[in-house]
C-alpha cells in the first residue's frame, strides 16, 4: 500500500493542518460567542429598535451559506489575512446559531428569579451579569457542544480561501499522487471523527461537572 506510506510521511503536515483547523475553530467560536451573546441579550432585553436590528442581523447571518460568507469576507476590498477572513466569516455564521442557543437558555430561566432579583433592587445589568449569564452558561453547554462539533467540521471549508488546514493537505496529496482520492478522504474522515469525539467528550464531562442536582440533565 503505497498510499499508506505517503500518508504516514505526510503526518507532520496533517498535524500542522490540524493545529490550523483548531486555531480557526477557536477563533470562530470566540467571534460567534461574543456576537451571539450580544445578539441574544439584545433580542431579549433590548428595546424595540435594538430587538429589531438584532433579529434582522441574526436572520441575515442565519440564511447565508458559509461558503458564500467565506468568499464575501475574503473579497472585501481591504487586505485581510486569509486565516482572519475565514475566522470572521465562519464566526459570523456561528454567531447566528450561538445566539439561539443562548436565547433558548436565557428564556428557560424561570421568570420568578428575575422578578425576585428586581424586587431585591438589582439593576438590569446586574441581573444579567449575576443571575442570567451564570445559569445560561450551564444550560448552554449541551447545545453548544453540538455547535462546537458542527463548527469543527465546518473549518474544512476554510481551504477555499487558502487556509492550509486538513482538507487542503488532503488535496495536496491527491494532486501529486494523481489519485488515491478515496483512501485520502477516508483518512481525513477518521481524523475529523477523532477530533470531534475528543472535543465533545470534553464538553460532556464539563456539563456533568457543572450540573446542579435537582435540575434537568441530558442523558448519557
Amino acid at each position: 500500500m503505497e498510499i499508506l506510506r505517503i500518508l504516514i510521511s505526510e503526518l507532520p503536515q496533517f498535524a500542522k493542518g490540524t493545529l490550523v483547523a483548531l486555531e480557526v475553530l477557536a477563533g470562530l467560536l470566540i467571534v460567534g460567542l461574543v456576537l451571539g451573546l450580544a445578539i441574544a441579550l439584545a433580542e431579549i432585553f433590548g428595546n424595540t429598535l435594538i430587538k429589531f436590528l438584532a433579529t434582522t442581523l441574526r436572520k441575515f447571518l442565519w440564511a447565508i451559506p458559509q461558503l458564500v460568507l467565506l468568499f464575501l469576507v475574503f473579497y472585501l476590498p481591504f487586505d485581510l489575512n486569509r486565516m482572519l477572513a475565514a475566522i470572521i466569516a465562519l464566526g459570523l455564521c456561528s454567531s447566528a446559531f450561538q445566539s439561539q442557543i443562548f436565547r433558548g437558555a436565557i428564556l428557560s430561566i424561570q421568570s420568578g428569579q428575575l422578578e425576585a432579583a428586581k424586587a431585591m433592587g438589582l439593576s438590569k445589568p446586574k441581573i444579567i451579569f449575576y443571575i442570567v449569564i451564570p445559569q445560561m452558561i450551564r444550560l448552554s453547554i449541551g447545545p453548544w457542544t453540538n455547535e462546537f462539533s458542527s463548527e469543527l467540521k465546518d473549518t474544512s471549508l476554510a481551504y477555499v480561501v487558502g487556509v492550509v488546514e486538513i482538507m487542503r493537505n488532503a488535496k495536496y496529496i491527491i494532486a501529486y499522487t494523481y489519485g488515491n482520492t478515496a483512501a485520502v478522504y477516508l483518512f481525513v474522515g477518521i481524523l475529523y471523527f477523532t477530533l470531534t469525539r475528543i472535543g465533545t467528550s470534553f464538553f460532556y464531562r464539563l456539563e456533568e461537572r457543572l450540573w446542579v442536582p435537582g435540575f434537568e440533565k441530558r442523558s448519557g
Binding site: Q13, Y75, D79, R82, G162, Y176, Y178, G179
Partner: protein, 273 residues
C-alpha cells in the same frame, strides 16, 4: 588561556557572520506574494510541507537575477484569478494559460510555455481520436480551461455532436472516465501524462489538437513594475540554461524552446477571439 582566546575568536566570527547576514537583509530586497495553487503538479505543488515545481523554482531564479524575493501564497485555483485581480497576491504562477478574457482583469508577462491538449479515454475503450469526440459522445473537460472552450467553440458550436461535461477538477473527470460515465476527457498534456504515469485506468487517443500559452500574470496595472522583470528573468533563465535544467527535471518529455515567446497579445486576441 589560548583555548579561551580561540573560543572568543569563534564567537566573534559568529557575531560577525550574523551582523553581515543581517546587513545583507537590511539591503532589503522587495518581497512579493507569489500566488500558486499548490495542488497543481508539475507546475507547483506541496509535498511533505515543501513547495516544489517548475514555476516555483523558475521564480526563485527570476527573483535572484532580477533582485526580488517571493513568498508563496497558496490559494485554490477557483479563487486565484480573483485574488490576483483584487491585489491579494502580486504574481500568479502555476500553469496559468493566456486567455483574452483573463487579460481583461489581470496583466500578463510574455508566455514561457506552450501546452498542448490531449484527449483521454478509458484504457479498455475502443474509441479513437475521431469517435471519442463525435457521435453524441460525452466529453469532459475542466470547466474554465482552454480545453473546455475549445470543445465548445471548435467542435460543438461548429456542429459536432458531443455533450460537453464540465468538472471542477481533472480528478473528478478521470474518475467519471474510469467509471464509464464519460467517453473522453480533454485535458492539458502535463496533467494527462501525470495520470497516465500514475497508472490510472486511462490512455490517450489524441495529442496536440490545439495548444495554449502559459504565462505569469500580475495585479492589473502592474503596480510593482514586475512584468519587465519577469520577462527579462525568463530570458536570462533560458540563456543561462536554467530553463533547460528545469524542463529536464519537471517535464522530461518536453523539448526546450527559446522563451519567452515574443507573442503580441493584442494581435493574438483579435485573431482568436
Amino acid at each position: 588561556m589560548f583555548k579561551f582566546k580561540k573560543q572568543m575568536l569563534s564567537v566573534g566570527f559568529i557575531c560577525a557572520a550574523f551582523l553581515l547576514s543581517s546587513l545583507s537583509y537590511a539591503a532589503d530586497l522587495p518581497v512579493y506574494k507569489l500566488g500558486i495553487d499548490a495542488a497543481f503538479p508539475p507546475w507547483t505543488w506541496a509535498e511533505k510541507g515543501e513547495i516544489k515545481g517548475f514555476d516555483w523554482e523558475l521564480f526563485q531564479y527570476i527573483g535572484q537575477v532580477e533582485g526580488f524575493k517571493v513568498e508563496a501564497a497558496d490559494i485554490p485555483w477557483s479563487a486565484i484569478i480573483a485574488a490576483l485581480s483584487k491585489g491579494k497576491i502580486d504574481i500568479l504562477a502555476g500553469g496559468l494559460s493566456y486567455t483574452c478574457k483573463r487579460a481583461e482583469v489581470i496583466d500578463y508577462a510574455l508566455p514561457h510555455w506552450k501546452t498542448d491538449y490531449w484527449t483521454l479515454v478509458k484504457s479498455t475503450s475502443k474509441l479513437n481520436c475521431i469517435t471519442a469526440m463525435s457521435n453524441g459522445a460525452n466529453v469532459g473537460a475542466q470547466a474554465g480551461t482552454t480545453g473546455y472552450r475549445w470543445l465548445k467553440e471548435e467542435l460543438k458550436d461548429k456542429g459536432v455532436n458531443i455533450n460537453i461535461k464540465g468538472y471542477e477538477s481533472v480528478e473528478l473527470g478521470i474518475k467519471e472516465l474510469e467509471i464509464g460515465r464519460l467517453d473522453a476527457l480533454h485535458v492539458d498534456s502535463p496533467t494527462a501524462r501525470g495520470f497516465i504515469e500514475a497508472k490510472r485506468d486511462v490512455r490517450y487517443v489524441c495529442k496536440g489538437l490545439h495548444f495554449d500559452y502559459s504565462a505569469y500574470a500580475v495585479t492589473p496595472g502592474d503596480p510593482h513594475k514586475l512584468i519587465e522583470k519577469i520577462n527579462a528573468g525568463i530570458k536570462k533563465a533560458y540563456e543561462s540554461g536554467k530553463i533547460e535544467e528545469l524542463v529536464r527535471k519537471y517535464l522530461p518529455w518536453a523539448s526546450v524552446e527559446a522563451v519567452p515567446y515574443p507573442v503580441d497579445y493584442k494581435a493574438f486576441c483579435t485573431e482568436s477571439n
